[in-house]
């Protein structure tokens, strides 16, 4: 009997520390910021030889026709101004005619909540909004997930246009920057970070 009691007590003591394991400690602590900035580039993109850029004059909201995504447009001008500022700071000259610019930038907003994002979806809207261009390249961009309000910035190289489609050579996704709780300061920080972590976007 004593032997059995000792055995049970021993195993209880042995397994006791397991109670504190497997709990992902300190996950989502109070200071966790849900904003994130992802940038992807075409490594063959000729950023340094580009000289001019054009920026679409509105933020495209990716919603089916007739529906609303609930994203405020009150920050649209600020977003575009900040992108413009970063591009000129990187040494590029702003032009108003996209056809005469080496780089064409477009800005989009979405509140997709499903996992997995398909470029085909927004390419359709992109084409609808700006029919001279398209996308679909490169394919690895399909793997990102955006489950909350996300700001997307795409950069196409006009010099590589074929069949009225210019390939994207840079892409930025800024999550949690167009939904509730966003501030002007957070938007600026996010856009600045997208360019800061893409130092190759530079015209000497």
């Amino acid at each position: 009997m004593h032997r059995a009691a000792r055995l049970i007590a021993g195993w209880a003591l042995a397994l006791a520390p397991l109670a504190g394991l497997g709990c992902y400690p300190d996950r989502y602590d109070t200071g966790y910021n849900y904003s994130a900035v992802a940038t992807l580039r075409d490594t063959t993109g000729a950023f340094s030889t580009a000289t001019t850029f054009a920026l679409a004059d509105s933020v495209v909201h990716l919603v089916p026709p007739g529906e609303s995504d609930g994203i405020t447009r009150s920050y649209d001008k600020q977003i575009l101004d900040r992108i413009r500022l970063n591009m000129t700071s990187a040494g590029y000259t702003l032009v108003t005619n996209p056809a005469s610019a080496t780089l064409n930038l477009v800005t989009l907003a979405t509140t997709s909540t499903y996992s997995g994002y398909y470029w085909d979806s927004w390419c359709g809207y992109y084409g609808w909004w700006y029919p001279a261009y398209g996308c679909g390249y490169p394919t690895y961009w399909y793997s990102y997930e955006y489950t909350v309000g996300t700001l997307l910035i795409g950069m196409a190289d006009h010099r590589l246009m074929t069949n009225n489609k210019a390939p994207l050579i840079w892409f930025a996704g800024l999550s949690s920057l167009v939904d509730e709780g966003v501030t002007a300061a957070k938007i600026n920080v996010g856009i600045d970070q997208a360019f800061a972590q893409s130092p190759y976007i530079h015209h000497p």
Binding site: L21, G22, Y24, G31, A36, V37, L40, S175
Partner: protein, 205 residues
């Protein structure tokens, strides 16, 4: 695959070399609480020491000097960071929570010094597989994956008998999974860590 076969061959060789006709087969069963320091690729991913480590172990002394045994461990490593993640074709920034669970399932061979009833230093190695569960949260995205990887864990320690059949144990173990698998970075990694443990054991014949 070739590395896996090498480890299996090494494990079989060590176990065969250690196997001798039993003279006085003393069993030792115990557990330990481990502190761990990340090394190798683990240090690159989670550069934080861990106080979440636990090992259950049993070994059987084959005579006075050599023991064969088995152990299963559980370790967690985690870190909150804002380090920039650099990708081959881009980068990701933002608050991150990085987490790794490691579960080693090992067979062990040890050579013991000292005399029964007194402090018994030992040296040896553990061979087996590591299960790794790697997780990262960044922004609102969570990604994770699992890997089973062969590895070796050389170990030194000492068994310190106390009253009756119980005792305490101290050990230092270097967990060295081979570079294999497919981690969140998309390539093979070797998530190594050094563990220092304090344990308790009981002896039976």
């Amino acid at each position: 695959m070739r590395n896996s076969l090498r480890f299996l061959a090494l494990a079989a060789g060590l176990l065969a070399a250690a196997s001798r006709p039993a003279v006085a087969q003393t069993k030792v069963i115990g557990w330990s609480y481990d502190w761990s320091m990340p090394m190798g690729d683990m240090k690159d991913y989670v550069d934080n020491d861990s106080w979440l480590g636990f090992v259950l172990e049993g070994r059987r002394l084959q005579g006075d000097r050599v023991s064969l045994g088995a152990q299963v461990g559980y370790y967690e490593f985690y870190k909150n960071t804002t380090d920039l993640i650099t990708l081959p074709k881009g980068a990701i920034s933002g608050d991150q929570y990085r987490h790794v669970i490691s579960v080693p399932l090992m067979l062990s061979v040890f050579v013991h010094a000292g005399q029964p009833g007194r402090a018994r230093p030992y040296i040896g190695t553990n061979l087996g597989v590591y299960y790794f569960h790697q997780t990262i949260d960044i922004g609102t995205i969570t990604a994770d994956n699992d890997n089973w990887i062969f590895g070796v864990a050389p170990e030194i320690g000492v068994l310190l008998p106390m009253r009756g059949t119980s005792g305490t144990a101290l050990h230092v173990r270097y967990n060295y999974p081979i570079s294999a698998g497919s981690f969140l970075s998309g390539d093979a990694r070797s998530f190594q860590y050094l563990s220092v443990g304090l344990g308790f054991y009981t002896r039976t014949r």
